[in-house]
Symmetry: C2
Subunit: 411 residues, 2 copies
């Protein structure tokens, strides 16, 4: 008998019938002898409905009141799930974030969890109750309702698992696990039984939308074993472990291929190559609240330098305006913007012990006549920026080159 | 400059546009130099939508979870109203019942207010903010969300007015005040500028649905001046005073005519007339949780007695079953049930100093060939039970007989 924290997202609780199905699932874990704490999101569509009500009044509603407004979404779900559980004879008790209490800072709409009081939940578990907690929300020191930002329910679940020292945190979603790459692009994409936190972090940050990156970081920090499963299908999903374990076993060099089309590339050419030039170019971008992803700097032969970086495509225009202003001030030669790019990455802790991974990746691109525009590497990841139109070709050929296809035998 | 508590019901906040109109109204009072505290209901239809979600799971959801569920309705409204106020440049701050905090007992779905902490609200008013409080809800000693039952938002408003020692509690609704009787039945029905609490209590309990009786009682207990006004029309509404005031002025004998079709009549005939018989007959009814309204007992010539009473029509069948069982045990002669009755009442504190009011009422019935089945009287009210089909005729002729018609000159 162990304690499991389960998180069900908006789609999983999108209708009364689905909430009853969740109650069945929770009840079956309880029958197996587990203690269960459940974190839930708002019913799908509800958060958007609430935001729309506010937007019809003003495009800039106060963040404090937005949190009061949207936090009602999860509150509805916790009540309905408890009603469904009790209707099946399972004693249950609901908690809002404020009731738990999940103490956060005061950054409304994007608050961070500071502490979770587990005393009430522990008492309920001791009394053999299922505890149902509203995800995504908390309360600050002043008693104001806060929310953790979109996807914050994953973070709530992981934080609860950490605070309660749970055996496992199960994230139920509409996919049945983490795949070697997007199955819509590569038919042979395989579900991974296990993935390390580091790999998952890279996958999540690169557009594998299974889990919020923040929740993964949180799980890693507190060593909470995370499992991603489907609400709608049976199966054991993908376990995300902080234990790199199997070191003696043959590990594949690459665990997965991630990619994103959400970025745009900006280049400033012919800047004088003096110390502090990167900061002069990128400082104003960051001050404009634009997040920069890949950054590459080359020194040209004439002693000037070029700096290239990528930003989210939605912010490309804003970033370009800032960059053109900087270019004028710095007397740079030219600014080039390109929204038609994509980024593809190979990820795997196995890279650490395998040589020639980068070479194989570049050879695959060369074999397929795909021109590489930018390269960045980390210890467990190599990312490459290419022309957008080549993205499917790149992902498919890499997936095959690194023996990830399902026909090549299970991991 | 004085403190006003304003309450807006579900219809008044039924759409985003109406919430903005409420914000305008609040803003205009504030511009006149008043401090304003607002209590709001859920947007019309919202509470029923939430109840329906729960009912689709089970017809008997837990009361605790129902309170968690339906209390989200007012929480949405407080956030939207604050957003609308701030959008008009009026600083505002929302509070759930739990945040205020409005401490109640633990009788979920029909909790009673025990105490209101006014410190946070006072601080906000001192900081020149409009305070918006979720009506209908509170929190018990354990931190569980409670609700006050349907119409509880009126009670919240009055309780806030009492706790804050407000100059006036304004209840905005879809009618523009309290009328001498239902304008849909009597064309000449007049809006009253003033009515006493005692009169209002009788009007409310007899089916004048303008205000919850509980709110009126509460207002009387704490001497809070209550005003009923329309959200949609201009006008000063009806002031409900605890001051009988104007004693020197000519007061009409009767202030209003109330009536209800919601009752049914039950009679037990030929019960032995011994001490304790009323308790034997009515005790089981009350134990069956059926509320009894009018009770009349007559002693017949043969030493037996008849007891007649009325109950809510929805509970007539249940009451009849209980009564038949009692009749068998007591060896009574007969039980008669009649759902086709109506009750009409004349109400007025002026009755105290006017003779002949009852006689005039009965004469009016006689003139119109309306047979009186039951009569009960209190100091400021005479109620008569008649056959249902005569109800409109009775109300119209009484309204005219007691000089309440609008053409007879303003009060």
């Amino acid at each position: 008998m162990s304690l499991i924290v389960q998180k069900f997202g908006g789609t999983s609780v999108g209708t009364v019938e689905r909430i009853q199905a969740v109650a069945d699932k929770v009840a079956s874990f309880r029958e197996q002898g587990h203690d269960v704490v459940v974190a839930v999101s708002a019913m799908s569509g509800e958060t958007n409905r609430l935001i729309d009500l506010a937007q019809r009044i003003t495009s800039q509603p106060s963040a404090r009141e937005m949190d009061v407004l949207v936090s009602t979404g999860e509150q509805v779900t916790i009540a309905l799930l408890c009603i469904a559980l009790e209707n099946k004879g399972v004693p249950a008790r609901s908690y809002t974030g404020s009731q738990v209490k999940i103490l956060t800072d005061s950054a409304h709409t994007k608050a961070r969890i500071k502490h979770i009081d587990n005393s009430a939940i522990q008492a309920d578990l001791a009394a053999d109750k299922v505890v149902v907690v509203a995800g995504f929300q908390g309360v600050n020191e002043e008693g104001d309702i806060t929310t953790l930002g979109r996807g914050g329910s994953d973070t709530t679940a992981v934080a609860l698992a950490a605070a309660l020292n749970a055996a496992e945190c199960q994230i139920y979603t509409d996919v049945d696990g983490v795949y070697t790459t997007d199955p819509r692009v590569v038919e042979g994409a395989r579900r991974l039984d296990k993935i390390t936190f580091e790999e998952m972090l890279e996958m999540a940050s690169l557009g594998s939308k299974v889990l919020q990156i923040r929740a993964v970081e949180f799980a890693g920090k507190y060593s909470v074993p995370l499992r991603v499963l489907s609400s709608f299908a049976e199966g054991s999903g993908t376990l995300i472990t902080f234990d790199e374990g199997d070191k003696s076993m043959e590990r594949p060099a690459v665990s997965g291929i991630a990619f994103t089309r959400d970025e745009a590339k900006l280049t400033i050419l012919g800047v004088p190559d003096v110390p502090g030039v990167a900061s002069k170019v990128l400082g104003p971008i960051s001050e404009g609240n634009v997040e920069v992803d890949v950054i590459v700097q080359n020194v040209a032969e004439d002693g000037s330098t070029d700096i290239t970086f990528t930003v989210h495509r939605n912010e490309a225009e804003k970033a370009e305006q800032i960059l053109r202003k900087t270019a004028k001030e710095m007397n740079a030669r030219e600014v080039i913007a390109d929204a038609h790019i994509a980024k593809v990455s190979i990820i795997g802790v196995g890279m650490r012990s395998h040589a020639g991974i980068a070479a194989k990746m570049f050879q695959t691109f060369a074999d397929n006549n795909i021109n590489i525009q930018l390269i960045t590497t980390s210890e467990i990841k190599i990312s490459v920026v290419i022309e957008e139109k080549y993205i499917e070709l790149a992902v498919r050929t890499l997936h095959s080159a690194f023996d990830l296809d399902v026909d090549d035998g299970q991991k």
